[in-house]
Each structure stands twice: as C-alpha cells, then as structure tokens.
Symmetry: C2
Subunit: 325 residues, 2 copies
C-alpha cells in the first residue's frame, strides 16, 4: 500500500467528523476556536526501543501515544479537541500494522471525544517513530499552570504511583511475578494510562499548580517547585500505591522507590490552598478517584522526601531523563 | 547533556518571544487567535536516510524541516505564527549537533517571523527523526483550498520546477556536473526551499485552488484535480526551469522529466479564472517572482501532459510516494 492508500483507507475515517480536517486531502487543517477560548497545544514523540518495545499490539502503541498527550492537556485543565499525527514506518510495518494502530486510535477517539486533524505518513529505515500534537480548549486565562504553588499548599496526587514503572519491569526485564492478576493490572497501567481529563477540568479554579507525572513523582514535583520558586516536603509512606504494587514489591522501602521516581504514571500532581482540602475530598468522591495528600509546599527549593523512619531519604535519581549521563 | 539541559540552553531561547510557550517549562503551550481568525495547522515529519542524508550541516536539516511546513501554510494562504517541534536523537547527535540545529532554526525564525511554541526532545536508537507542527493564521473562511479549481481556469506555477530533485541527485548519486555554480544553486534549492508565503497571502482572494509542490508537479496537480473533480492539461515546454537545470540536463525531453515529477520544489501550483490572468502578471512583477502559465483546467479527471511534439506523453511515475510498490 502507498502512503495515499494508508491515508484514504485508515487515517481519513478518523478525521470524518472534523470539518477542518478536509478529509486529510488538503495541505493543512483549519481550527476554529470558540469565542473567549484559547487553544492548548502539546506534542510528544515516542520511539521504538525507547518508549515501547515494538512487538506489542500496535493498538496499544497508538493508545499510549494518544493518552500521554491527553494527560498533558489534563494537567493544563483543557478539554480535548483534536490531534495531528506523524507516523514513521519501517518496512516491516505493513497494512496489518496500520490497521491495528488506527483501530486503537478509533477506540480512544470515541472514549475521549476527539478526532484526527491531519498529519504525515512517511517511511523510516528501521525503527517505528510517532509524534502526536494534541489540541485542547480552555477558557481564556483558565489554563492550569506549574508556576502557582504557594508556601503552605497541600500537595495531592491522583490514583496510584509506580504501577507503570513496575509494569515495564515485568514486561522488559522479566521481573518474577507469580500473581497473574497483579501482573495484568501493572502491564495495563503501563500501556493504557488513564489521562485524568475530568479531574483536570475540575481543578481549573481550585489548584494553584498542576503537572502530570511522566518523568516521575519527585522529578515532576521538582518542576512545580522550580517554576513556582518554592520547596516541597513529601512523605514516602503517604504515596498511594496499588494492591498489585504491594503484591509485587513487598514492604522493603528501597524496593518501593518506583512509586517516587518510576515515571510514566500519567496521574495528576497538584497543590491546593490548605483551606480547600475539603473540596478535594468531595471531588475525589464525585469522581470516584483517590486524591491523596502526600505533603506540603514550603519555603526554599527542591523536594525533600521523608522516609518511613522520619528521616529524609536520598534517592538514586529523581526520575527518568533522556540522555542522562 | 540531559534533555532538560538541551531544552534550557538551546530550545528555550527559541521560545523567548512567545508568551504562550511559558519558556517551555509547562505541560503544554497556549495559543490565542485574534478575533475573526482561524488557525491553520500542518505537520510534516522527516527521517534520516529518507528525507535527508544525515551527514549535512544540522542547520540545513532544521531549516528544511521548518520550510517544508511553512510551504504548506503558504499553500493555504496563511500567515506563519509559531511551531511545535519533536526531535528524536540517536547517541551520535551530541551537543554540537543540537547547537547547530537550533542555530538554523533561529535564523529562519527571524526570516519568517515565527517562534517555537513547545515540543519534545527524546532519545532514538539509530536514526535522526524530526516532526514539526506549524501554525498559521488566516481570516475566517479565507484559507486557500485544493478543491476550488474550475473548468477553464489557467494553471500557474511559481519559480522553477525540478531544481530540488536534481540537487538531490547531485548530492546522493554523484550525478556528474562540471558547472560548480549550477551545482551549488541546485543543492541549495534542495536544502533551503523558499516557502512562497507572500505569494500565498496575495492569492487568497484570487486563486480558485492552490497546492505546494512536494510530491511532484504532476502528482500535486492531480491532487487539485481529484479534490476539485476536474481534469488538467499542461505542456511540458511551458514548465519553467532554471538555467542551472538546463545546464545539467541539456535538451533531451526524457531527461527533463524531473521538472514534472521530481518533487520537493515547494513552489506553489495554483489555478485562476482566465479573466484574472492580468492580475497574476502584475503580482509576479510586484513580488519579483516568476509566475508561469503551464496549462488549463478542463472537464474530466487526471492530468494530461502534452510533450514538445504536441502528443501526450506517458510518465514513468507522477511523483514521489512513500511505500510505493
């Protein structure tokens, strides 16, 4: 199949409900933004052998790509609107690959209420690479930022931390795990993170600062601290982890560091005035999503992690960094 | 250097004048569109070994990437506004690479009046890959489309065709060329195409249909024909070619097919009502850019190319296609 066949048969149907995509047959797409709104734009790339293994169901690769971008929109409090997609395909990525990949996108388009806007389909020598640009809408001036955390704010995290990093260890390094149910849960958390869109929308007039956890809880909290010119103190024993996480790593604190630094969680980490904690409790109940207090914003700089014995702990690393020495 | 060092030192300065980029320190960027305007969005990806060789000056790779996207904006009649960028870097792409690459971007940002909005910097196993999403502005409903060509329209092309394809042959396949000046010109046309922004803006209320020549003149004209449900007839001897093109390929018609099917020209191909040809002559003079009549839109479907002997000629291929059999 040529690129034009791929576009006509597999990508154009994903753009059907988007008038400004012109059936993917023009040089570019056109986006109209409702009055009083701004467009939130994020762009992530994923590469075979770095962000995914390459031999998984292509639908999973597609869904993860879309979801990590939607998670950025969630962290900005934006409502998902559309996305543009570049796919770089080596020779082995045949029609069956593209069919499965676009099936994954179609499923998630429905789930998240978005459509394809445009993009590019090109050949690559050896590795699969994808880049996605996601667009969201937000009322003027209401986007959630990283730079608003204030001394005394309570720090919250949604869901559970560390599942995805553990899922990846099970997948890639054959970490032993006799608990088949736990394994399945953790692998799913790695492949199909849940962008916290509904939470992000509700946090718009409530949170002082927000970020999604992609690099790792401590690393992403340090981004909030840097942008807000504050410090933070969090408690290892308050970090919410899943039953599956507990089942696999047990109780030893040093084995539990993935919850602090593992990354790829795509939960929201946010800070709220201490006067607003009751609103967060109510929001958690309304969304059916755990929102857990893990520490406080304080003066200074950087993140201090207090261990289970009450003393600060030293972390080997804060989170995932590309090109780290 | 880590990804964060790359971003701080080399990419953040490119986003300095763009308030909505938040110094590249947030989860996403925010775009405001002036009242009564729409945002035009295009996304192209380029891959080492497919779209560029890999050993050229990284500044040239960056400029080509930016310019092929700006050319899509030109074809829509949009004014360049900003861009988002994903860079996927194998281990050999070190700080010197990123420094040169961003130097190329900085130069072209000035030339085209745009700024970086956001993006992603990630590791890749072996090949350089880049994806760029370019944003332009256009007044509501004024975007140039491919689907408005009408029977009787005159078909025009800007600049000269075939230079870039010939430049690539000189670079990649060592096509012999004793004329150093011609070689330099053709290679430059390959690496640094001129997106026809000013022309696109002027064509907004004048052209019925427009496309930029990326796949090849005949292939891209066939896109206009398909979208507009018309046919086209063009004349090989009317296709404008450069002195350098003539110097390298000589007079034999079969050697001149690169002007018809070579691709990568990034000139604009457009159709205009026959009553408006004088306006095009005036526009050509005002812009100092050749705008050459090459044929007519007619009933039917597909592109007929009339050779120098007056008979239709058969082309080996219409243009470049990824994954062509």
């Amino acid at each position: 199949m040529s690129e034009f066949d791929f576009i006509r048969r597999y990508f154009a149907p994903l753009a059907k409900r988007q008038a400004g995509a012109f059936s993917l047959s023009d040089d570019a797409a056109v986006v109209r933004i409702p009055k009083g709104h701004e467009l939130v734009v994020t762009k992530d790339a994923i590469v075979e052998g770095v962000h995914f293994l390459g031999d998984e169901d292509p639908a999973l690769i597609a869904q993860k790509l879309l979801r990590v971008n939607l998670s950025d929109l969630a962290a900005m409090g934006a409502e998902p609107y559309a996305y543009a997609l570049a796919v770089m395909l080596p020779p082995r990525a045949d029609e069956a690959f593209v069919k499965a990949f676009t099936r994954g996108l179609a499923k998630d388009q429905k789930k998240f209420g978005i459509t394809l806007l445009g993009g590019d389909t090109v050949a690559a020598p050896t590795h699969l690479c994808f880049s996605l640009t996601a667009f969201g809408k937000v009322k003027k001036g209401e986007a959630l930022r990283r730079n608003g955390a204030k001394v005394g704010d309570i720090i919250y995290v949604s869901g559970t931390a560390g599942d995805s990093a553990l899922g990846l260890k099970l997948l890639r390094w054959g970490l032993p795990c006799r608990d088949a149910k736990a394994r399945k849960f953790l692998e799913k958390r790695y492949y199909r993170p849940e962008p916290r869109i509904a939470l992000g929308l509700k946090l718009r007039k409530l949170a002082h600062a927000a970020v999604d956890i992609s690099d790792g809880l401590v690393a992403d909290l340090s981004h909030i601290c840097e942008c807000s010119r504050v410090g933070a103190r969090i408690y290892q024993d308050k970090i919410p982890v899943s039953q599956a996480f507990n089942a696999v790593v047990g109780k030893k604190p040093e084995k539990r560091q993935d919850a602090l630094t593992g990354g790829d969680d795509y939960e929201l980490l946010f800070t709220v005035a201490s006067a607003d904690t009751r609103k967060i409790t109510a929001l958690s109940a309304a969304l059916g999503l755990p929102l857990t207090e893990i520490g406080r914003i304080e003066k200074g700089a950087g993140v201090r992690v207090i261990g289970e014995n009450g003393a600060p702990i030293a972390l080997e690393r804060m989170g995932f960094v590309h090109f780290a020495a």
